[in-house]
Subunit: 210 residues, 2 copies
DNA sequence: ATAAATCTGCCATATTATTGACATGAGAGA
DNA sequence: TCTCTCATGTCAATAATATGGCAGATTTAT
């Protein structure tokens, strides 16, 4: 039923995770069906937009009925690629790196942290939830010997670009960047930035904006 | 020179922190002036867009010269409200809450963490970098006795909405939400979401999208 | 069984954002 | 001083995104 995925606009893509999140919650709450109108109230979007968003991937709904929650959730799960299993390594075992490694919430969606890497000799050899912290020098060989899909960069910003280059050269396709810099990468790789400072600045802006 | 700030589009607002970040880096690197063209190369935007963005706030540049880096940085700093000092409390002293408390990088922009709150008796009474962890029951009285501008919600998602309501009722204006839910708040309050799962899903989507 | 109400998928329209073009003014060099 | 070059601010054109409306399919009520 679903059309071949060709082009999906940036705007639509950014909303898909949100749909997935809400649908997962609804399914857990035992809700079986939902109309675009109800969903729009719940999510603060227009019903029209929701219908159009889903239509990028082919129609999942039924006239007069609406959408089946768990079916729709499954479709979006597939669209997001969450039916796959991803292996993650974390570069930088500082505050943030450790917090990510400790967090188990992503495992239900198939994301598993396999190792951390750091330069600090006091951290190397330790482990978090059984996940080992290795010397950063071992990163390349680890990647070549283990399947690594995603690397989370949690280094100071000065080291982030260099780390990314090594990672991509070693064959890692996805970079989840937490360092406060915009990383430049070749086309085959994909960077998703989480700029905490940007979001804090935005908050500040909106708080002072009136 | 700068026009009165009236309406700034979402899109422009989201780019401002990025400008600030790059300008700060440039200033630190000793760069004195920059043209929109050069900046566009550096940031991956078009020169036209950059000029138009800055013009939302009044012209900061000079024909034939370009923009003075440190002057422009200062203007954007003011626009973002980063000339103020903000007091932050963190709700939930788990992995992420602790990581935020340990991170000192926001202090240079005037953001100071004053306290953490948790329900876990093993954490209550401890401190992080000298920042105390209190019982969540003391949150309201703490807010009334201390000036608190921003609360970072780092609780499990089930508790996030409730926490937000208490916070806003107590007079906190800004919510920096790290829980994986969309928090509903009255108009006077401002919520900035950091949905790590959304960003990871987006990465997954783009990695499987070809 | 039939009528009324519901709700999707799609298309046409409206709104918003980005890009391109250019007149004008400042700086640099001779 | 004069001319050439550079680069802004602004406006118009284009592109992207969101909204509104409706035909037709499906469910629900009678």
């Amino acid at each position: 039923m679903a059309k071949e995925k060709n082009y999906v606009s940036e705007a639509v893509m950014r909303r898909m995770p949100k749909y997935y999140r809400h649908l997962t919650d609804m399914e857990k709450a035992g809700i079986e069906r939902i109309s675009s109108k109800e969903l729009s109230k719940r999510m603060g979007l227009t019903a029209s937009q929701i219908r159009q968003d889903f239509n990028c991937f082919g129609g999942f709904g039924q006239q007069g009925y609406g959408y089946n929650v768990s079916e729709l959730r499954q479709e979006i799960q597939k669209i997001l690629g969450l039916h796959n299993e991803y292996h993650i390594i974390i570069i930088g075992a500082g505050n943030l790196g450790q917090a990510l490694a400790n967090y188990t919430g992503f495992e239900k969606d198939g994301f598993f942290v396999k190792a951390l890497f750091d330069i600090n000799p006091r951290l190397i050899g330790m482990s978090i939830r059984g996940i080992p912290i290795y010397d950063i020098d071992e990163m390349e060989s680890f990647i070549s010997e283990n399947e690594v899909h995603i690397a989370a960069i949690c280094t100071p910003k000065e080291k982030a670009q260099e780390a990314a280059e090594i990672l991509i050269q070693s064959g890692v396709k996805g970079i989840w960047n937490f360092a406060a810099v915009d990383i430049a990468v070749p086309n085959q790789a994909i960077v998703e930035n989480v700029h905490l400072s940007d979001s804090l600045y935005t908050l500040s802006f909106r708080m002072s904006d009136d």
